[in-house]
Structure formats: C-alpha cells, structure tokens
Amino acid sequence: VIGDLDGSAWSEVLSAALLGTDRRPWSGATVPGLPELPAGPEGLLQGAAMLTTWREAGRTVAPPPFSPPLRPTADPRPVLGQEPRRLLATLIRDRRQAAILDEWLDRAAASGSRLPGALLADLVPFVGLDDEARLGRLRTLGGPLLAWLAALNPDWAPLARFDGTELSLDQWSEASDEARLALFRRFRADDPAGSAALLAEVLPGEPAASAVALTQSLSEQLSDVDIELLESALDDRRKRVRAVSMELLGRLPTSPRAQRLADLAVPAISVTGRWKHTLTVGELPPADDAQERDGVVGSSSERFGVAVSGAALDSWTVRLGHSPADLVSWARASSDPKAGALLVAWAMAARRQRDRIWVGALLDAGVSPDGGLLSVLDPVDADRRLAGAVSAAELGSLPALIGACTDPWGPQASSAAIATISRIVGRIDLSKGPDAALTHAAQALQSSLVPLALRLDPRTDATPLVEGVSDAPSPAFWLGAVAGSGSALGLAGILAFRAALAAAFEPMPTSATPLRSLS
C-alpha cells in the first residue's frame, strides 16, 4: 500500500493548519511509501506540499454521479441550413431587436427542420420563457429534443407544455384545464361541428377561466356551425364568457344576433332627397332587456356603436336600398356629427365580417387604412391602396398610418414609404429656432422608423432614404433612426438583415409578399 489512501494524514494536516502549530504542535506523520513528514511548522507545510501533489496526481475516474437520462425520441427532420443558423448566431451575439427574432422564429418554425442541440440551448434563454406565441414556435422548432430537455431542466418547464396528444375525450373530466384546452383544440381541428356540440354540453360545468379559454378557442376555424352554441352562451352566467361570445358572433353576419342588431340599428338611419341624398342619423329605440342580452348597453353613443358594428352589413344595402359606396360617401358628406360614429362602427363591422365590398367603399371614401381593413382585401389590392395612402401622407399623418398598419407591407407600399419619408425629411429644418409642434411631429416620425423597418418588404431598397437623409436640412436628427447608431440598427440595417433572413430561408414561400398581379 502506498500513500494516504483513506485521507487520514491529509485530514490531520488540514486540522493542524486550521488550529495553528503554536496552539497544537505538529508532530509529523507517517504515510506509507512517502518520505516521513517532519514535525514543526515547516514540516506541516512540507506535508501539505507532498500530500497535495500526491492527491492531485492520484485523481482519477469515479462511478457516475447520475445515470444518463433516457434518450429523446429521434427527430427525422433535416438540420436547419447553415445560413439561417449563422443569422441566428448573429442575432444572439448582438442581442438584436426581438422583433427580428420573431421573424426568424416564424420562418424557422415553418421550415420543417430542426436545430442542432447546442444552438437550441443558446436560443432558449435568448427567446425567454414568458411569451406564449414564441414558446409555441420554439416547441415546433425544438421538437422532441426540446421536450426532452424541458422534462430534465426545471427552469424550462414552460416549454414542456402539454399538447393533448396522449389524451382521449373519455378522459375529459380527469384532465387539467390546460389538457382539456389542448384536447379540445385537437378535436376541433378534426371536427368543428362536433367540437361545438361538445362545448355546448360541457360549458356550463367548466370553471370560469377555462370556460373563457375554451370559448375563445372557437376563434380558430370559426363558422356558422358555431352560431347556435354562441347564441346560447349569451345567457351564460359568466360575464367574460358572454363578452367573448358576442365578439365571435360579431364575425358571423348570418347569426341571429347580427339580424337583431340590424333590426335595431338600420331604422335609425334615414336617407332623404331624390337628387341630392342626405343621410341622417337618428336615435336607437329605448334600452330593454333584449338589447342588454346582445350587449347594447351604456351611453347612447356606446349603444349606437355596438348595434351598428354588430349588425349584418348586408342589411344596410338591402333595407335602405343603396350601395355601400353610396351610403359611405353620403355619411362622409353628412353634416350630422353622429355620422362620424357611424363610419367608425361600419369600419369595425367591415373588419370583423371581412367584407371586401364595404372595406373597399370605406377606403375609397377616404377612411384612413389600418391593418384590420387591409387584411380583408387581397394582398395586391391592399398593397396598392396602402401605397396610395402613404404617398399622400404628410409629417402629421404618416406616424399614425405606420402605427395603424402593423401587418407586413407589400412592395408598392414599402417603396412608397421610403419615397414619402425621404420627401418629408428633405423639407424639415429643425435648425430654424424652436418650434415645439414641428419637433414633436418629427420625433413621432423618427421613432416610428424602426417599427416600420420591421414591416416593410425586406427587398425594399432603402438607399434613397439614406441618401435623402444625408442631403436633408437636419441630417443628424434622422441619421440614427435611418442608418443606426452605436449598437442599434437603424431602418436600413434592419432591412438589410431581414433581406438576408428572407434569402436564407429562400425555398420557403413568404406569405408576406403578394404575388405580382397579372394586369
């Protein structure tokens, strides 16, 4: 036997050193196979030197502290391409804008490929665990490997979200709230009508939060088969269930509620005059219980808004005998102050009921476009109309327009935005003394440039704006937001990065870019 195998000599050295040889003299030690450890303080140090070296040289393997976990299910998907991975590494390293990360996640999750494990482990902390929409895409991308890691790592538990695939409907009553919702979603995807019938059966017994979530989940694949359930949910004892049902019924113009609200709202509008038509807005009938059931409550203007925005749009044309275009233009021309509220409510109805003719009529009449209205139109038409509105915009109106149109912009609108901003920037001179209103408006535009860059078609050429800014009267004011400053990317940098992103995921069709029209 050689050395201090049981560590007893080392323990003696340790306690002697802690106590001090003045208090307890060190009398040396004998270790088999090593020279005698001498007494005294020098001897203690010599013992420490010898044993430390001996122990260090003796470090070797040990039995495993943990058994290796079971392996994750194999993931047959191909590994995500080199370029998308490189761009992700850049995003993570430079801590780039979260919105670009969203675009990356969207594209990567839709690409049908998987991420190498080490990169996935870098991505999770970067994405964070608090945004459910991102987690969903992360789960898609991570596949079985991520589910396996989430089961091992308590910090990643939110990623192990239950997807309901192992449950059947028989287990409804035993399943957790989360599991029932997952189960219901899966069932609904296969059988929308059956799912509505199921929900009608179970809804009264569901706890409030789960009842709301289940009802809300009808918004996917919403159709006329859901009307009966939603109409009966208007009598639900829980206010939030009723509110969600009303919101969903607002999207279904064939529902009885849409007809009841039409009965209420259409008679309040009258069109008079044979050659020159005048639109007048009257009062709703007095409030009653039936109206309250349909959500027509509150002040008279609130009741008017609910009734008009919930009424089936067809009923205006059928009952008043005029086209949407005529009705909208007369409302625009009306001197009645309530006509403004009428237009707002019509626009809301057109968005919810996704009625292209009404949206077209409203936009033709000069109602300012927003994301909801444009999403109803076909992408080429939406792009053309937004381009028109952007080209006509000025410093005062452009930031609001950018703020209202949050969906991806088409190529025409994107180019128009670059041209319009260049034009506006070229006219603003902030050096001519203090002008609070001008400065305020300029700041609003300046701060909307980065959000805009995340929406523009990534192929847009930002060069005219970069050049426009350097020739502008106040270039320094715009430079940061356009060309970037310090570590922040400006509009041009974001566009360039997004163009690289689009190219990296090239084989995947980009839903944001409309097909070129044939005309």
């Binding site: 050193a17 040990a62 970037g484």
Partner: protein, 463 residues
C-alpha cells in the same frame, strides 16, 4: 493565409460595442475599391465624413490599419471589412493592393524579419515579453566577437542576480507561510485582499511575479465557500513546493531550473526558445482554447495534439482583454507545422515556428477511456508537479448532470466531473441529446475539467 470564418473575425473585436458597430459595416454598400490577396484585405469605407477611410488588414498577424481617428483597436472599419469578407468571400474580389497598402505590408514584413518574428508565420506572437518586461529586439548592429562575449557575460551576470533576488523573495515567502500555519487559518477567511498584497508585492519586487499572483489568489480561495480549507491548504502546499525547490536551485539540472523560473514568473524569452529550443514537426490538431484574466492581460491557451507523435502542446498568448490572437489555430483545425519547445522537465508550452500548409478542418485525435486520460495526466504530474492545466480530448462521452453538478461518462461507465456553469451544462446535454459525443476539456489542477468544445451532428461547437 486562409480566410477567417465569421466567428474568427468577430473574435478580433476589442469589445461588444465595436463588434456591433462593425457588423453594420459588414455589408457591401459602404465599401469601395475593396480587394484581397493571400496576404491582406483592403478597401475604402464611406463614413459620415467627406473622405472615405482607407482600411487594410494584414492577415499574417493579424494587423489592422485604418485612417479613421478611432482609438479602438481594431476599429469598426477594419473589423467590418474582415467580417464582410468572412461572411461572403464573393464580396471582396481578389486583386493587387493599392500602393499605400503594399508599402505598409512591405514595412511590416521588414520589421518582422528584423525582430525575428517573421518566422512565426502562423501568427503566434512571442508575447511572454509583455510579462517579462523585456523589450523586443530591433535591428541589431553586427557585434565583434569580443563585444558578443562581453554582452553574454553581462547577460549571465544579470541572470545570476535575478536568481538571487528570487531566492531572497522565496525565503521571505517561506517565513510568511510558516507564520500562517503557526498562527493557524481559523480566522483567515475574514482577512481581505490587503492581507496578501504586501507579500504579493514583495514577490513582484523580487522579480517573481507569478509567485506573487499565486499569493494574491489565496484571498479568493479563503472566500470560496464550502470546502475552502482543503483548497487553501493545497494552495499553500503548492507554494511551499516552489519555495523549497528554490532553496536547491543551484544544485538542480537546467530543465528543472527552467521549470522553477517559469513558475516564479520568469519564463524563457521567445528569442531564446527560438534560438535554442528543440523542434518537432507534426500535424497539430487544435483541441480547444481557454481564456483567463490575469492582471490587465488575458492569457489565451491553445491546446494542440500532434497527430503522429501523440504529443500534447500548449500555445500561450497574452493578449488584450477580449481580443483573440491568430485564427489559424482555431479549434477544430489541424495544421502541419514545426513547433519549438520551451525548456523544462516535461514542458507543454511551445512556439509555432513555421506552418507548412494551410490550416484545415479536421477531427482531432481523442482518447476512448476517461481512465486513460486521467492516467496520462498522473504520469505527467509525476514528472512535473507544477503542472497546472492539462488538456483532455475524448472521442465519445455522454454528459450527465443537473444544475450545480455536471459530469461526463464514458462507455466503461467511468466518469469525471465537469466544472462549468449551468448554461454550459445544458448546452452539453442539448448538444449530446443523451448520446456519446466528442468533447475536449481543460483539467485544472485543484479544480475540475472545464469543457472547451463538443462535436455533435458532425459539427464542432466552441463552448
């Protein structure tokens, strides 16, 4: 010289904000008159001013040049150019450098030859000079035989004086260590850094800076939490090992003397190593790199494994914090090269003298069994008790663990502990997915094994 990859180019950045700024310039738009040849890459960068900046990067080095006034080094323009090229080789066409770049390169070559470092074409800078305080030689005039003998005698006298000064410092340290164990370590944990500063400073004055740094590190060990007495006494033991060996310095052979000098903080100069050190040519695989902050500089260790000889070697560079030296020796690469060994009983440290081909990606040699890796280290420790780091390259180990406790497991069911943060631990788990992976690590004396790289899905990941 090979084109760097993006990671290698980004590693040249002095700090994160420079890298971000450079990233914005790493697109084709702001550049004019760009080009590259096998030695350099150059271009003009349009900035906010009227005159574009003239930018050039000497890839042998690397060295950077830019006409901008930035005090960052390299500046965002030079870094941006390198990044642009690293990302997209087509963006920078091959060509002949403009006159000013050509003359700058010629000037650098001449200066390099004069100092003898032009031979270090793999870009490893003989940088222990920064630690040693010696000046890098310029153009030396021809000396007569008499002058040469005189200067050799002067150098020997200087060396003898330094040995004496270090020995005196070690004697003081001996007394200081003795006082510690006489009084006992009971309340040593309450002592601040100041308690160690005086002894540390005296060792620096005695021209033994590495010993001084080891004394200063005791302050941190005393406050390192659970199990600190064991680590503290082990550190005292290692210091005493050095002290007692210095008392016998004159009797020892040259190799042991060199080890003692190195551990006191007096490494052999690169010039001397190049002049006298033994050479070996091999195909050197880069196992991994580690970085540690040491007084105002970053010690960058690059671990090599010679394919034919099985020799393990260490390239040690001292660089500015955050910057990395040459990208030629990048983990996952192999290069046919001649290295020069530092003196010592079992020295790991080498200088790369000459590269015989382009570095190319390769799978590094590796051990199959953790037991073998541990035995190789034990054998080396038996010869060199001052060994403080040792590389481990495993062919197939499975990472296991949970927050706060990570380990690797080989096919025989043996394990060694990994010393890494939890983020790295999960990265290993994710990369391996429960399967055996290739892994390299740096085994630190008195500590655990720090993972350096992993190879999974056929790709090397630098941790």
């Amino acid at each position: 010289v090979t084109r760097p990859n993006e990671q290698q180019a980004a590693a040249q950045a002095p700090d994160a904000s420079s890298l971000k700024a450079a990233n914005r310039l790493a697109v084709r738009a702001p550049w004019d008159e760009i080009g590259h040849n096998e030695r350099a890459v150059w271009g003009h960068c349009r900035g906010s001013g009227k005159t574009p900046y003239a930018v050039a990067v000497d890839l042998a080095g690397p060295a950077f040049r830019c006409s901008c006034p930035s005090r960052k080094f390299p500046c965002k323009h030079a870094l941006g150019l390198l990044l642009l090229w690293a990302r997209d080789s087509d963006a920078v066409p091959p060509g002949a450098p403009p006159a000013e770049v050509a003359s700058w390169l010629a000037g650098r070559s001449a200066a390099g030859k004069a100092s003898g470092s032009a031979r270090l074409r793999a870009g490893t800078v003989p940088s222990d000079d920064a630690q040693d305080g010696a000046t890098k030689g310029g153009e030396r005039p021809e000396l007569t035989a008499e002058q040469r003998e005189l200067s050799a005698r002067q150098a020997a006298a200087r060396a003898a004086r330094r040995v004496e000064r270090i020995a005196a410092g070690m004697q003081e340290l001996d007394g200081w260590l003795g006082d510690l164990v006489r009084v006992g370590l009971g309340d040593i944990a309450s002592r601040g850094a100041a308690f160690y500063d005086e002894m540390g400073a005296r060792l620096v004055d005695a021209q033994a800076p590495a010993a001084g740094a080891a004394v200063r590190r005791l302050a941190g060990i005393a406050r390192s939490g659970r199990g600190w007495p064991e680590r503290y006494v082990a550190a005292l033991g290692r210091l005493y090992l050095l002290v007692s060996a210095w008392s016998r310095y004159p009797e020892l052979d040259a190799a042991r003397q060199a080890d003692l000098r190195t551990n006191a903080g007096w490494p052999t100069s690169s010039a001397e190593v190049l002049a006298t050190g033994p050479r070996s040519q091999d195909r050197w695989h880069v196992l991994g790199r580690s970085e540690t902050e040491e007084d105002r500089v970053t010690a960058l260790r690059t671990w090599l494994w010679g394919e034919r000889s099985g020799t393990l070697a260490l390239v040690l560079d001292f660089v500015r914090p955050g910057a990395l030296a040459a990208w030629e020796l990048w983990p996952g690469n192999a290069v046919e090269a001649t290295v020069v060994h530092f003196p010592g009983v079992a020295p790991l440290r080498v200088l790369v003298e000459e590269r015989h081909d382009e570095a190319s990606a390769a799978v590094a040699p590796a051990s199959e069994r953790l037991r073998d890796a541990a035995r190789a280290r034990s054998t080396r420790l038996a010869r060199d008790p001052y060994l403080d780091r040792w590389p481990v390259s495993m062919a197939a180990v499975t990472p296991v663990g949970r927050p706060g406790g990570w380990a690797m497991l080989d096919a025989e069911g043996d394990s060694l502990p990994l010393d890494c943060d939890d983020a790295t631990g999960w990265k290993l788990m994710a990369g391996a997915a429960g399967q055996p992976i290739a892994l390299t690590a740096e085994w630190r004396t008195g500590g655990g094994l720090l993972p350096l790289t992993l190879r999974a899905d056929g790709e090397l990941v630098i941790l």
